[in-house]
Symmetry: C2
Subunit: 217 residues, 2 copies
């Protein structure tokens, strides 16, 4: 059985839920409560030496790091392709993923926010300003990339959902949480809306997970 | 002609130099002086909407984001493989790359250090503490991953250099700059030493680049 150790609100776990759903793969979820710090429990760190989610148990393997796991899923279950097209197309799709997966998301990871709170005395407003800055920087670049690629939609890289959408949708969710004006990025907003209407993305939404609190917070 | 827009001290450009050398591909370099802020010039931002290096011009394509470009190089020039072995092996190699490429390097990127200086009033010591914290966190996890993988070396994932070493060596260079006790990570240190002795890595070293200042600073 495939088991996803995740958390309803984790962007990286959200990416894996979308990909597993797109590939039509069944999985069970084990919730690691990040709000209560259970990612730092010895039992979880035995699964993931960084003390992060997600961890995916699949095919007898224990896999960490969503960028690596997404490539694994696409290699072992090629249809539908998360990286369709030529090598250059694939590089463009992976570039969208990297802007989000390297230059936006990890900078507003929980441990970083905890550090700027405890070491630099930042309050909720300071944390929000920090997150908004890096999300806006990254979204500005992604919007220009989408303009230059000039695909006709509805998804970020054309007619079918790709790895780019798998990264975009959780980051847009996160951006709305931190009050980023997502409507300032029309290509990203349109692709996000199209993707969220897709059943694989819909089922992966944070609020649709078994560990999501009823009030959504 | 293949052209790498980079900078001698950029970790991400360093990764690409190693990969191009391993693949035996010739390239010219155009230096974008990050110290003087030329990455934010309009001419450079027309090449890279984030205002980052590297940019690779190759095969008539203009490619950004080193994680995407490294995969492109491996797809278009399969030998020697940067991701050898089974799908699970490849996922493990990519996990090393992701720990560095997502959870260490971008957090101590120049723009972040500039922000914690200007917004949080951090001096050189504060910046050093910030960098050391995220490098040590990541290296601690990588060392455990290497222990668990239990490969016999000399490289991080066994007998041949892989994508894992391409990420490791520039990050170790960076760690030494920020005074991290790299000897605390014996698997990483041994792999770094082996890789740096390889001609492809040797030629890619920051101090061996045409734009490196003579005093190495």
């Amino acid at each position: 059985m495939t088991i996803l150790h995740g958390y309803w609100r984790s962007s990286a776990a959200y990416r894996l839920r979308i990909a597993l759903n797109l590939k039509g793969l069944d999985y069970d979820q084990i919730s690691v409560n990040l709000k209560d710090g259970h990612q730092r429990d010895a039992a979880h760190k035995a699964l993931h030496p960084q003390g992060f989610v997600p961890v995916l148990n699949m095919d007898g393997e224990q896999l960490i790091q969503s960028p690596a796991i997404l490539e694994y899923l696409d290699e072992t279950h090629p249809e539908p392709a998360l990286l369709p097209g030529s090598a250059a197309d694939r590089a463009r799709i992976r570039a969208y993923a990297a802007v989000i997966g390297c230059d936006i998301h990890p900078i507003q990871n929980l441990r970083i926010l905890q550090y700027i709170r405890s070491e630099y005395g930042q309050d909720a407003e300071g944390v929000k300003a920090w997150c908004q800055r890096w999300i806006s920087d990254g979204f500005g670049a992604l919007e220009k990339m989408a303009e230059a690629d000039n695909r006709s939609g509805p998804y970020l890289f054309g007619a079918q959902p790709t790895l780019a959408d798998i990264y975009l949708v959780p980051q847009m969710y996160n951006a709305r949480r931190f009050g980023v004006a997502v409507e300032d990025y029309p290509h990203l907003s349109a692709a996000d809306e199209a993707a969220r209407a897709h059943p694989a993305f819909e089922a992966a939404r944070p609020e649709n997970q078994p560990d999501a609190p009823e009030d959504g917070h």
